[in-house]
Amino acid sequence: MARVIVQRDGFDIAAEIARMAAESGSDVGAIVTFTGLCRAEKGALAALELEHYPGMAEAEMERIAHEAEGRWPIDALTIVHRYGKIVPGEGIVLVLVASAHRAAAFEAAEFLMDYLKTHAPFWKKEHRADGQDGAWVEAHARDDVALGRWQS
């Protein structure tokens, strides 16, 4: 039931919402979306280059989606994750959850993001605006902390 996509191109949130509404019928009461954007880091960043593990990225996203569907009453669920070069202001990841109830939609969307951050095989490398070699973005301890709330 979940729609999971890994793509180089940008995504269209309005089109994804329309698709979700059309597919899940008119008893959906709530749609929560999360869009993760490439930040300019106060002008220091020219772009992010996203590397991913083809095959595993999709498989892991499917697993995470399936886990969410087992925990909450979800009518429809979409995850789009981009790879390649992404400039500040552009979207990197898009999560949409439709449910009859808003609390379920909010929780499931947050769960999906916490798992994507820590489990989906994507890595960000910085392209600096000053032309110097950019670093690989380091994982945040706070993302592991965020994950903990779903595991108790």
């Binding site: 996203l50 994507l116 951050k117 989906a120 380091e138």
Partner: protein, 83 residues
């Protein structure tokens, strides 16, 4: 055995993937890392903080004490930073 590398693990080792015949002494992921470290400075550099390296066997996350068994593909990479 197909070994694949991502992000700075890939950069440090210098290739995105390679085929390797593993010796019988390599049973679990940790053995494989130790064995690879013996193959050159690039491997030693990539695995200098081995505990931090994440591993997937046939595209599923596994801990370092996971048995390799009949794996077709083993991947090594840094903690993920997607999303």
């Amino acid at each position: 055995m197909k070994l694949v590398y991502f992000a700075w693990v890939r950069e440090r080792i210098g290739v995105p993937e390679e085929e390797r015949d593993l010796p019988d002494s390599v049973h679990m992921v940790a053995d494989l890392i130790e064995w690879l470290i013996g193959h050159g400075e690039n491997y030693a550099y990539a695995f200098e903080n081995a505990q931090a390296i994440r591993v997937a066997i046939d595209r599923q996350h596994v801990p370092h004490d996971a048995p390799i068994g009949n794996a077709k593909e083993i991947a090594f990479f840094p903690p993920m930073t997607g999303g």
